[in-house]
Amino acid sequence: MIIVKDLKRCYGTGSTAVKALKGVSFEINKGEFVAIMGASGSGKTTLLRILALLDDATDGEYTIRGLKVSSLPESERSYYRLTQVGYIFQDYALINEMSAAENVYMLSMMEGRSKKESYATALEALDKVGLKGKHDRVPDELSGGEKQRVAIARAIAKKPDILFADEPCANLDTINSTQVLDVFKELNEKYGQTIVMVTHEPWHTDYVDRVITFKDGSLLSDEKQNQKVKLSSLGYGSCSTVINK
């Protein structure tokens, strides 16, 4: 569903130019849960931002479901971000003055749905990530893990083709990280959500199907993974009971 061909990204020009991506090519199939790993500065964030249309590649080709998104005009890219792509930031990136529900349903409203419908969609998404009953809280009244789950709800409420997450657990402790990963796992297994997640933690790879490793802006390895964590064994249903205590 995603095809990346010889993607390059260069920051700056002349002698100070940094080649963050030196021509990477790979494909991601529908329903895959992919982890992107690699040392700091190897170009993971750079890649993810380009894939989520937050940044432009310097060179190369990038298609989602056959659509060549690298050459879309800005207005269409904006629409694409709104409807097809979910992006989860390391630092949650919630609007602090909006409640959990408002953060989520603002996007459905942007898509032209009625307020009522949008609200219902938002509640559904918040339920999915285990935040039932907390939709009226503002970010300041939520824990880091809860905030990140609001951000996930915001990203999945629009039922995007692909979900991108850049170190979604970097600011979280193990318990909160597990909750977030469980949510991803469930989305991936139950709803067939395609997920591309950047991470540093080796134990996160237990959740994914495939690990792509970067080194200095190039692909180092691309390996299938045996998912060691099974939804049935951990599940996030059990997790949400922990959360709600």
């Binding site: 931002r49 989520a52 937050l54 940044d55 904006s78 629409y79 971000r81 709104l82 409807t83 992006y87 930031f89 990136a93 919630l94 609007i95 602090n96 003055e97 909006m98 409640s99 408002e102 603002m106 996007l107 409203m109 942007m110 898509e111 032209g112 307020k115 503002v138 915001r154 990203a155 629009k158």
Partner: protein, 402 residues
């Protein structure tokens, strides 16, 4: 577009509802001061020119003034004009005057003045001249070798320091007058008039008969016929009625006159008024822009996030337009409260100049509406411009600053 408006207003609503209330109060307070600045001084100046137009009615022009047509020095048959005017219904009183140029000489001091020849008894119903005699008495019907001089040229009143004066002339003193045609007369000062207004206090009054004599008139000429009407506010209507009664000379209402006169005599005042308006506008515009701009810069990251998750730039810009319009509306409301409080205070306690000139500000609805419209326009621009420029930036730059 409708979705943009809906989302824009949701963002604006949330940021007002959950935003920092202290910041909101501060912004509104500053905006209210900007508004006050826009309307307060013009209101005071409005009060000042109101005071001056009052002078115009009370002294040189009455409610309606009739003047010679074309190049004529005199209304040649003023008595005839008077007869016609007095017959018009709604005219309370009318009189004729002759203004001439002269110089007054007292103990080697000389000042140039306009001397008005008038019929003293009739003036009681026309002007306030008879009532502003600070020393001595007003002219009588039989006054011939007598003169009333203004306090500023007498050298006794306020403003004497500024103008040439005769050096403390008191009633009973003798002064020599040289008229513009060279004729010399000696008069006894009968009284000093003090209207705390240059047009009055720099002049002198004598009996009409004196001017008639000096200039060899036939007793019917006048440089102006001054009319007072029974009901204030009917001047324009009465002006037409007088014209219909067959008066062919130029007819002005006091408002016609003071408009041009205020524009001339109070040019500096008008300039100050306009300048203060322009300055407050520029300062106000800059402040509104700065306040909203800082507000937008503080939320640069938020704007980047909104864009990154797919909110259209148009909704973002709209949300700031709504937000700043909301701030400015609150600011205007607070400003209006401040304004009316000040207005009522100053109307109850007028500012006093020259001990007698009381200036109470006038509330000018047109000015208020103008200022409100200006502030609102500014707020929309101030909201849109910075938000627009930030929303044009790349997402990376807005969120991560590079």
């Amino acid at each position: 577009m409708i979705d943009d408006i809906r989302v824009g207003s949701l963002i604006a609503y949330c940021s007002v509802k959950r935003g920092n209330k202290k910041t909101l109060i501060f912004i509104v307070f500053v905006l209210s001061l900007i508004f006050l600045n826009l309307v307060f001084l013009p209101s005071m100046i409005g009060g000042l020119s109101g005071l001056f137009t009052g002078f115009m009615q009370d002294y040189p022009y009455g409610d309606i003034v009739i003047e010679p047509t074309g190049d004529n020095t005199y209304i040649n048959n003023a008595d005839n004009v008077l007869k016609k005017v007095r017959a018009v219904e709604g005219v309370r009183a009318a009189t004729k005057r002759v203004d001439v140029g002269a110089s007054i000489n007292h103990k080697q001091k000389v000042v140039g003045v306009t001397i008005t020849g008038m019929l003293p008894i009739e003036e009681y119903d026309i002007s306030r001249y008879p009532y502003i005699i600070s020393e001595g008495d007003f002219l009588g019907d039989l006054s011939r070798d007598e003169i009333i001089i203004g306090a500023m040229i007498a050298g006794t009143g306020f403003g004497s320091e500024i103008y040439d004066n005769l050096g403390e002339v008191r009633p009973g003193a003798l002064v020599d007058v040289t008229y513009s045609n060279g004729v010399k007369r000696t008069y006894k000062v009968k009284g000093i008039m003090e209207g705390t207004f240059e047009v009055v206090d720099l002049n002198a009054l004598v009996h009409y008969k004196e001017i008639e004599d000096v200039y060899g008139l036939e007793g019917k000429e006048a440089t102006s016929v001054v009319v007072r009407v029974s009901e204030q506010g009917t001047e324009t209507f009465m002006k037409d009625k007088i014209r219909e009664a067959g008066v062919n000379e130029q007819i002005f209402t006091w408002a016609d006159k003071s408009e041009s006169l205020i524009r001339q005599a109070l040019q500096s005042m008008g300039a100050i008024d306009t300048m203060s308006k322009i300055v407050s506008l520029i300062v106000g515009a800059a402040l509104v822009l700065i306040i909203i701009y800082i507000n937008v810069l503080n939320r640069k990251k938020e704007i980047g996030i909104l864009k990154a998750v797919g909110i259209t730039p148009r909704s973002i810009v709209l949300s700031y337009a709504f937000l700043s319009t909301f701030y400015v509306c609150l600011g205007i409301s607070a400003g209006l409260i401040l304004y009316f409080t000040l207005m009522f205070y100053f109307q109850a306690n007028p500012v006093v100049f020259y001990e007698t000139m009381k200036i109470s500000p006038t509330i000018d609805p047109v000015l208020l509406i103008q200022s409100i419209a200006t502030m609102l326009t500014l707020s929309v621009i101030a909201g849109i411009l910075p938000a627009w420029s930030v929303s044009k930036e790349s997402i990376l730059k807005a969120i991560w600053g590079r």
